[in-house]
Amino acid sequence: MGDWCRRKARTGALCVFVSAALFAAGCGGSSHGGSPTTASGPPVKGGEVSFALPAGNSPNMILPFFGAAYIGNANTMDFMALMYRPLYYLDGQTFQLDEEKSLAAPPVYNSARTAVTIQMKRWHWSDGEPVSPKDVAFFIALAKTETANWWAAVPGLFPANVKSVSYDDAANSFTLHLTGPVNPDWFTYNQLSLIQPMPLAWDITGPGKKANCTDEDVAAEASECPKVYNYLESQAKSTSTYATNKLWQVVNGPWRLKSFSPGGTSVVLVPNTSYSGSDKPHISEFQLESFTSEQAEYNVLRSGTSLTVGYLPFIDAPQKPTNGGGGPNPVSGYNLEPWFSWALNYINVNFNNPVTGPVEHQLYFRQALQYLTDQNTWIKDAYNGYAAPDFGGVPNQPSTPYLTSYVQNAPYGFDVAKAKSLITSHGWTISGSGPATCTSPGTGSGECGAGVKAGTPLSFSLTYPAGQESVSTELQDYQSKLREVGIQVTLRTLPLNALFATALPCTPKQSTCNWGMVDFGGPDSYDPFWYPDDGLEFSCGAPANTSSYCNPALDKIYANQVYRNPGLAALHEVENLVTQDAAFVFIPVPDGQLTEVRSNLGGYTQSGTMAIAPEDWYFTSGS
């Protein structure tokens, strides 16, 4: 299931962690996330790490149960997840369950796949209370009663697809009884990945006012949970008290909050000395630093001051060598480590635009659009080599069991001649430098297709976020390639949030349905829906289906197979169908970030989930 959070790499990230997230066993496990940095010298205890947040991002929410307004790595991956661990945590190197960092053993499904039992570890919160099924019950109760305030609530899915839960506090386990059989991989990676145990210390409606918001007491949850949520939310709105409010000091992760400056511009975390995991922090302090712009961050990085982990703006990046790895590093004293994210990237076409929609409904036209994506050139010229090609419904890199050979072999790889042939053989006449026009309307072979009138020009708008140089370079080249076959595209820019507010799923009768094509400027991360079925994006009427693409055959596969049947066959079918149907214009996936890591920092890894694990980092002697 794809995400509904958009991110431009890590910058402007709008993705979520809850991260749990696992990948199917047997994933490729390629090293795209990067292996630990090889700082020379023995590790030393202590030291302070300052970590640059993506420009314009700073944490502003601490409660790990929040609405869509607070989705973003700065809140989730870089802040909450360090203090409040999700039930399941994904190893971003192997794309398998990270059993060390997770709060429970891998889930066990019954033979009918209608129930799943989860055995929790014997971990503790920092206030001494055990991390137990009661904490899960607290979370589930909130998820059931506060759907409007939970970013991940989707009608019919978790927790609505859970008929009941039986909690065995003595055995420290719980069993979810489901409404029907499920595909275990899908349920684990896309549903269990959402569970975020919450401490009983938060089950209050005011200081010292104990409440009873727990799924173990279904009768009480409807009346109690809203009061509890209102109190927690009110506390979470007081950002100036984040570091002093005792609520937020109850943690089960390796870190706790020491200070939180106004606006979250500087956040300091220190080790949680009660942390139950074995991956206890080596460093003594972890500081998140926010920046007003990439340029400001880069200036600080180059001036050789305080940053331990920063990033290189793409515009300043050297060309990546063809043999992989980072290019020559313009910043001395640091190692350049490209941070690859496992994600899809594509241009949306508006199938419901009353003017251009009939053309966009034509398969041959969409195939032509895909044939004209000169991905190798864009990767080299627009991203200086720091990107990977993307040809279909599952990312081409890294190689995973999800990826089919059909998609891997780029069925619509760059070919201008084929694109031109598709256009001219379907009733369009290319004349001069203007747009091609439909000269053979109709639905027969060699005609423009249903709904396309005679004289219709192949003329569209393509909007993308302002201020993104790489995207601009890429799309300008695309514009010129399209022009070669008579497709005239007018490029427009909008601020990203304005684009979010403008390019929405719509119906032809709506006045706002006049957008033609949209590139949101960055890849679509799966996080935390790690089973890559993309149902939230590709199925008819799905909330994240910006294009209003609708293929009933696809919906049948989703409903009857992907969510229900074990194995990858249905997923492969979905992926091939979406790719064959050229439902979206797939374009290269840029690296999430070009990280600069101080050369004396060891143990540093970059997760494909974009999560960070400063508890694994250490300085080497001489630092």
């Binding site: 959070c5 307004a69 409007a148 400056s261 606006g263 511009t265 200036n299 001036s303 304005a498 507010a501």
Partner: protein, 317 residues
């Protein structure tokens, strides 16, 4: 004078109200609503509806404006979902920091600009005057972004003499207690002002030096220094003082570039980010503040003019 002041205050309040109405109306014309800007393009209709209801956006525009205005009167500028903070607290955090930076820059620009302009006038059409004029035009035409980068590369990246970012502390006093980190952003902001103030001052001092009262003073044996400081400067500063009053609103917005390059989140960036992220409450809050500062700045300029120039009297007609 009191009557004049009262009239101006009433006018100012009226102008600010009209400004808020215009801005409120213009925001409604933007395509897409704040819900999707905040929740993302993929928010479910239920989530959008919940957001609109929670923020009163499901009411007619005039009702929304009425609610917002009644809150404004009570000192409540609304709540920024983007920042998870009340707008008043956001402004409370950012405004002092921006003022610390920009007021320091204006003072520096004025001191240096007035001095240079005065010396230019005294030594007009000589080498120093030509050199200062040339440098002044250069400074005036320098884009602040370019100048900031140049200074950073020279003094922070290459020589490590100064920090590349402004003070990161949250309180004004701590910001001011780190003068090394303030040097580059203040200089970047001040350079353009030096050019403006020096040009104004030069021509104003030259005008005054040609006045009869100067000739009379000289004839009476007043010394050059006394003549300049006591007589000429007081009169020559008049246009500069009015300029300062008109600078007030610019203090809020003029620092956007410097705030961005020197990693100094202040009012300029607050408004810029609010505008690009459809953060309506913050946009309106900052607009009200800018409107108030504009009319107050204009009023202050008029009053100062009267104080400094006894010939100017504001009387009721």
């Amino acid at each position: 004078m009191t009557g004049y002041l009262l009239r101006r205050v009433v006018q100012a309040v009226f102008i600010v109200i009209v400004v808020t109405m215009i801005v409120f109306g213009l925001l409604q014309l933007l395509p897409g609503g704040p819900a999707h800007a905040v929740l993302g393009s993929r928010a479910t209709p239920a989530a959008v509806a919940a957001f609109d209801k929670a923020n009163g956006l499901d009411n007619p525009v005039y009702v929304q404006y009425g609610i917002w205005f009644s809150h404004l009167v009570q000192g409540n500028l609304g709540y920024s979902y983007n920042q998870n903070q009340s707008v008043i607290s956001l402004i409370g955090e950012r405004l002092p920091k921006t003022l610390a930076l920009t007021i320091t820059a204006v003072i520096l620009a004025m001191v240096v600009g007035v001095t240079i302009g005065t010396v230019q006038a005294i030594r007009r059409n000589r080498a120093f005057d030509y050199a200062a004029t040339s440098v002044g035009f250069l400074f005036y035409s320098f884009p602040p972004f370019f100048l900031a980068l140049l200074l950073i590369i020279l003094l922070a990246v290459d020589t490590h003499l100064l920090p590349a970012q402004a003070p990161q502390a949250s309180s004004v006093w701590t910001v001011l207690s780190d003068p090394r980190a303030l040097i580059l952003p203040v200089v970047t902001l001040a350079v353009g002002g030096v050019a403006i103030f020096s040009r104004y001052m030069r021509s104003s001092v030259i005008d005054n030096l040609l006045q009869d009262y100067v000739r009379t003073a000289r004839a009476k044996g007043v010394g050059s220094v006394r003549l300049l400081v006591v007589h000429v400067l007081r009169n020559a500063l008049l246009p500069v003082v009015t300029l300062i009053g008109l600078f007030l609103p610019l203090l809020l917005s003029g620092a956007v570039v410097v705030e961005s390059v020197f990693n100094y989140p202040g009012m300029g960036l607050l408004f810029w980010n609010a505008a690009t992220s459809r953060d309506y409450p913050t946009e309106l809050g900052v607009t009200v503040l800018a409107g108030v500062l504009t009319v107050v700045g204009s009023l202050v300029a008029d009053i100062l003019y009267a104080v400094l120039d006894p010939r100017v009297k504001y009387v009721s007609r």
